[in-house]
């Protein structure tokens, strides 16, 4: 006897498969897991046939916390799918393993604590991120970036009141930090407290007159506060928002051209969304999180960071920069990673010349080179710890 579902489908005179069993759905699925201090993490990579992309899922203690499309390098995309999936899984596993291991290796250095926290934040591992950001603030009470990061964790956890409490304290301790005022204002906006939000946004702009994000947030606050007429008529553009966009236009020629055409609340609202979207596209948090992890791994766990992994990362970062993320901070990371990479070549050279000297080949040159290598090693080691990231 046919099921009711099959009967319904046959009613139209066509045989439609109720499942997709007939279609070839090849799976490249790869899985790995690790446990750390009582918590378990599972990683799963596969090729999504519908989205046509390799992805990774991360589970923490059995709960899915992250679905992430893989960010492959050009070289990786040329490999067969099965290899792509495997290499993505290995890469993610290597990074997660390193990050978990590093928690006990970085000591109390606030920059490392914040940087590692950012990696966990980028993987939606809120508990791990929270712990590290909190420690970073404990060690450095004027660490504005760590405050912002921790407040974001609270927002992600649906705890705006905790975020508010933290940022109010941060602003009290560091009243001259524009980004803290802006971060606090954003939480006030989330809570619908427009007067408080505006006070802090105006302070942020007073401290940094070119603070694009703060202007946008101020614009949003005035847009949200408008009372729309009940008769469905268009609301004129609020004067405060026009004034804000005029100021932004001094940094943005395209906006300057569009400005005379913005006459209604809807026009301003649309323009705000465009600018906010442009700003969101410039957000490099995930890239910076990966850079921070590599930086900390090199300095604190170099024995587990192979030259090949560093090389692959450098290729990935170079491609990111070439594809529209050409920002000073990312260039600075890339420059520093190239210097780190040099240390691996020094090791190669040391190994080779030692072999030559041992074999008695070209002794004079070999010994000279060995001497140069010792100086190089010392210099690179020294410079690596002094680089500013």
């Amino acid at each position: 006897m046919a099921s009711s579902l099959q009967e319904d489908l046959n009613f139209f005179g066509q045989s439609i498969p109720t499942t997709e069993e007939g279609l070839p759905r090849e799976s490249f699925s790869q899985k790995a897991s690790l446990s750390w201090e009582g918590d378990s993490y599972q990683l799963e990579s596969d090729y999504d046939l519908d989205e046509k992309q390799v992805y990774t899922c991360l589970y923490r203690n059995g709960a899915l916390v992250l679905y992430q499309p893989a960010d492959l390098t050009l070289e990786q995309t040329h490999r067969p799918l099965a290899e792509q999936v495997l290499s993505v899984l290995q890469q993610e596993l290597d990074q997660l393993n390193a990050a978990l291991r590093l928690r006990s290796r970085i000591g109390k250095n606030p920059q490392f604590l914040n940087g590692l926290g950012l990696y966990f934040y980028s993987k939606n591992l809120w508990e791990e991120a929270h712990d590290l950001f909190r420690k970073a603030i404990e060690r450095k009470s004027d660490f504005s970036e760590a405050y912002r990061n921790l407040s974001n964790v609270f927002l992600k956890l649906g705890l705006p009141e905790k975020s508010l409490q933290l940022l109010e304290m941060a602003v009290h301790l560091n009243p001259s930090f524009a980004d803290l005022h802006n971060a606090l204002a954003w939480v006030y906006l989330e809570c619908g407290q427009h007067a408080d939000a505006r006070t802090h946004l105006e302070t942020a702009i007073g401290l940094n007159s070119r603070y694009y994000e703060a202007y946008l947030n101020l614009c949003l606050s005035y847009l949200q506060s408008c009372q729309h007429p009940d008769d469905g008529q268009h609301l004129p553009a609020p004067e405060e928002t026009l004034e804000i966009l005029r100021k932004l236009a001094s940094q943005d020629d395209e906006l300057k051209e569009r400005l005379p055409k913005l006459t209604s609340w809807e026009d301003i609202s649309r323009q705000y969304l465009i600018l906010k979207d442009q700003q969101a596209r410039r957000d490099t948090t995930t890239i910076r999180a990966s850079c921070e992890l590599i930086y900390i791994r090199y300095l604190k766990d170099r024995e587990n960071l192979g030259g090949q992994s560093l090389k692959s990362f450098i290729s990935w970062l170079s491609e990111k920069i070439a594809k529209g993320n050409n920002y000073a901070d990312l260039r600075n990371y890339l420059g520093s990673f190239c210097l780190f990479w040099a240390s691996y070549f020094v090791e190669n050279a040391k190994h080779s010349f030692r072999k030559c000297v041992k074999a008695g080949y070209n002794l004079e040159q070999g010994r000279k080179r060995e001497k140069q290598i010792r100086r190089l090693e010392k210099s690179i080691k020294e410079i690596s710890t002094r680089l500013l990231i």
Partner: protein, 88 residues
């Protein structure tokens, strides 16, 4: 690409890296090859410095007041100066 005949100075960092990895995998005990491999690694160090310098300069051209890259560039230049200008 033969490590014994190629002009190492004309290779990119990527090519040098591949050459070093490839020749490292060969089970050779030829000291002449090892010597060339060592020279290639030295050349790669120089290229790494050039890449680093170029990226710090790009950062500064994007943001001339970016202190981190300014300091890093100074550090790099002072290190290169301290070492023998002909090495690596």
């Amino acid at each position: 690409m033969d490590i014994n005949t190629v002009d190492l100075g004309s290779l990119s960092l990527e090519e040098l890296s591949s050459l070093i990895i490839r020749t490292g995998k060969e089970p050779s005990v030829d000291p002449a090859l090892e010597f060339q491999r060592g020279k290639a690694a030295f050349m790669a160090v120089r290229k790494c410095w050039e890449e680093a310098r170029s990226n710090y300069r790009s950062a500064l051209s994007l943001n001339p007041s970016f202190q981190k890259s300014l300091k890093n560039l100074e550090l790099l230049d002072s290190m290169v100066l301290k070492l023998d200008p002909n090495s690596p």
